[in-house]
């Protein structure tokens, strides 16, 4: 399958890059993700309810899709969302485990539990953008371009899929994360 990368976004705790260009950097003492949320006028209060994995995936996808331009938030099923990482939803898992660790303070939090699934980040992106195509979250033993390329190639085998929002979305804490996200298009378009 002949495909091409249309736009890329890289997000780390220190900077944000769009199509290889650095567009924002963090300043000590601020929440970089909240800053980007406001800088890009995302206006989606659900953002504040998300765990860190969803937050980084959401922010990166917003920047990426804003860069793509065009009409958004119209239901479509020709775009797949396919994300990868190594540590699944580790940060939310540990937050939730804390809510059930002490028998005297035993209040499992439903809103934290929801985020103990890594694929909620693909779901959040799909909900925000009304994407009803394929969505999957795949865990890899390590970041591997080859394995990710293979999975994206398979997603394109679905005759409905003409583009894939894909990439590596890893977040193990509020200050340790790495996102490399891109839009891949079928070449004949």
């Amino acid at each position: 399958m002949n495909t091409m990368v249309k736009h890329t976004v890289k997000l780390t705790p220190n900077y944000l890059e769009v199509n290889g260009k650095r567009v924002a950097e963090t300043v000590a003492g601020e929440s970089f993700l909240t800053k980007l949320y406001r800088l890009y006028n995302m206006e989606y209060p659900k953002f504040f309810k998300m765990d860190v994995l969803c937050k980084v995936g959401f922010v990166a996808s917003e920047v990426l899709l804003g860069t793509e331009g065009g009409e958004r938030f119209v239901p479509r099923s020709d775009r797949a969302v396919l994300l990868f990482n190594r540590h699944s939803s580790l940060h939310a898992d540990s937050t939730f485990q804390h809510t059930i660790a002490n028998p005297d303070e035993f209040y499992p939090s439903p809103s934290v539990f929801v985020y103990t699934l890594p694929n909620i980040v693909t779901g959040e992106i799909a909900i925000r953008n009304k994407y009803q195509g394929e969505s999957s979250f795949i865990l890899l033993p390590e970041k591997s371009e080859e394995a990710m390329d293979q999975a994206v190639a398979r997603a394109f085998m679905d005759r409905e899929t003409t583009s894939v929002l894909t990439g590596w979305v890893e977040a193990v804490s509020e200050t340790e994360y790495e996102v490399e996200m891109e839009l891949r298009m079928k070449n004949d378009e």
Binding site: S77, Q97, Y131, Q132
Partner: protein, 393 residues
Amino acid sequence: MRPKVVITGMGVVSALGVGAERHVLALRSGKSGIAEVRFLPTKHHEFPVGEAPFHNEEFRRKLNLPEGRRYSRTSLLGIAALREALAQGRLLDRQVLALISGTTVGGMDVTEQFFPKPVPDLDRDIHDCGASTNDIADNCGDFDHVSTVSTACSSAMNALIMGKLLIENGERDIVVAGGAEALSLFHLNGFKSLMILDTQCCRPFDKMRAGLNLGEGAAYLVLESEASAKARGAGIIGVVSGVGNACDAHHQTASSENGEGAYLAMSQALLDAGLSSSDIDYVNAHGTGTPNNDASESAALRRVFGEHLPPVSSTKSYTGHTTSASGSIEAVFCLMALQNGFIPVQPEFENPDEQCVTPVSGSNAVSADLRHVMCNAFGFGGNDSSIILSRYE
């Protein structure tokens, strides 16, 4: 021309027992495996569960696994099911196999034995989802490709879908795919916090339904190109005719009222199979027993099938909701139904609900000549999937 993807082996573990034979017996005679909790160290005995029949040490012994290290329960269930599938597929000695497995709980049961103390280094290596798949693979055969799908309760079905695509893409002749998931305190308490656990046996599609029962288990299918299966003389037990994966894009956990994601997944599976809805002889529904899922899935089923709804049932009334493993476990049940000519019934069903489809109920399985069956698995995140399995002819 896409290669036809056939099934040449299967293995399964659930509350109904270890191995295909026990499952066929239980499904035919309408015997549920849901009972009071025995092995999971929880105080919540008010919620019935579908536990696999042995404790970890007994599983370890039966599987002849070496002592002196810890095994997560997900691994133990997975090893039992995978070995059965490889044996039936006559692949036990084969090298360089591909495994795709779905799980979300992974080795959480091991980690929570220590929490909040840190997990010892040795055991930390079996905590995460990918590590638990590797552990299963390492104890069953020689795999050169192992990947893990984590899309909540549709994980194992999405593993099957990925497997089919790998073969159709010509990347592999044989892919072993499925999923494994053990019960954990982590998700029992999580589902309790979502207030969707029933204190009775779950009653999918029943007007009085009050939630799901959690279950555990594993199942793997040997997927293979027809040419490869014929060339090596493997027994063919069914065909993966069509697959569909769509996103409900509605809410993190709740399903949309009109079941849009489910509708799209089932429609895509039909399209992929080149079948029309009237070709489907039975639907093994996702049917968890929660008020929301069953109403939403029913709306979707009515949209797909219109007036001509085939027989529908949810086998979660036998196994509980085996979460990430449910897609492959229920796919195995569909193969059993195809092979043996029966439709599993829901033994606990009493009260039809106008919001829902009415499932096949009774005390014994209903005999039926089946050619094409559909199996659904939907997950939080709106990850909805559907596959169509057919008799090989």
